[in-house]
């Protein structure tokens, strides 16, 4: 089975990813934490990275967190990309946190 090297140039970590395995899953199997882990299902946008170099296949990703124009720029979710060559990635801020305005709800006794 083919193996590819993934290099995270933000943190300096690198790890091996097997053919058909997502970058995030490979990272977790190596015990690394260089990309934040969320839903692992292409839904939450937490594991967003930019691929600087290399080729990969994409699985389905939430359009909100990975719109087509971002995917074209290599901004993708690490849980849904499958390398077909060695990759160099960099970390990005997770996309679109919601409104975090304070609550004034009081306890009910």
């Amino acid at each position: 089975m083919a193996r590819f090297q993934v290099y995270n140039c933000t943190t300096g970590d690198d790890f091996t990813c097997q053919e058909g395995q997502s970058v995030l899953k490979a990272m977790e199997q190596w015990g690394l934490k260089c990309v934040p882990v969320g839903c692992r299902g292409g839904g939450c946008g937490i594991c967003k990275v930019r691929v600087i170099e290399g080729e990969y296949r994409c699985g389905k990703m939430s359009r909100v967190h990975a719109p087509p124009e971002a995917i074209e720029q290599g901004e993708v979710l690490a849980c849904r990309i499958y390398p077909v060559t060695d990759l160099t990635i960099e970390c990005l801020e997770p996309s679109a946190p919601g409104d975090t305005s304070e609550q004034t709800t009081r306890a009910l006794r």
Partner: protein
């Protein structure tokens, strides 16, 4: 006070890939596919549930929850609760019968947390899956994965806990089973339920918005998120 809302009846969830999602809910959670419709939606239930479905999956390019529905005692109750919601100032939307296959008319409304809920009175009765209604065995054969027993609750993240509480408690007859307070005494999570039975626990949870928008964070049939008991 009881107002005739019986239990969580269904939830419609948006999934990115229908094939993968159906495998997840059937092979891992152990739910049973009961139907599909011409919109491509897939209907599932857990084996102890007597109505036709409790989970509806819809393929979309953004995952999330479309709505959660509660079953009410009968049509008269539905009419009354609809009036009560309107009188309280809640906008309601009519969803005709058969919009969901084999489900009667639904009354849909959005609460201040931003989530959509529905009430309905009728859904096709199909009985428990895999056991006969005459001289039944205690347990069906052929269940897969976790063998989920029922759709029990949803966990939602959103703002406006107090206003959301008011609708569920004052209009729909829910009560507060548990709450989570921060060190200043501010309520950051509320667990609402309609059940009086000790074996059936919170069916609906609203939480303060953390870092997410209004997507449901998790949904596990038959289990509470706290893992304390079923």
């Amino acid at each position: 006070m009881k107002k005739g809302v019986m239990r969580p009846g269904h939830v419609q969830i948006r999934v990115l890939d229908m094939g993968e999602a159906v495998k997840h809910y059937t092979e891992l959670l152990g739910m049973i596919e009961t139907d599909r419709d011409d919109q491509g939606r897939v209907y599932l239930k857990a084996w102890t549930e007597v109505d036709k479905f409790s989970l509806v999956l819809r393929e979309a390019d953004e995952p999330g929850c479309d709505f959660m529905g509660f079953k009410v005692v009968d049509e008269d109750t539905l009419v009354q609760l609809e009036k009560d919601l309107v009188a309280y100032g809640v906008e309601v939307e009519q969803v005709p019968a058969e919009d969901l296959k084999d489900c009667g008319r639904r009354v849909r409304f959005t609460v201040p947390s931003g989530h959509a809920f529905e009430l309905y009175a009728d859904k096709k009765y199909t009985g428990k899956w895999g056991v006969s209604s005459v001289n039944p065995e205690a347990w069906p054969r052929g269940l897969q994965g976790m063998k989920a027993v029922r759709f029990d609750h949803c966990l939602f993240y959103g703002p406006e806990l107090a206003a959301t509480y008011d609708i569920f408690v004052n209009v729909l007859g829910f009560h507060l089973a548990e709450q989570v307070l921060d060190p200043e005494g501010t309520r950051v999570a509320q667990f609402l339920t309609v059940s009086m039975m000790s074996t059936t626990w919170p069916s609906f949870i609203t939480k303060r918005k953390a870092s997410s928008t209004t997507r449901p964070s998790s949904w596990i049939p038959g289990k509470r998120s706290s893992g304390r008991r079923i």
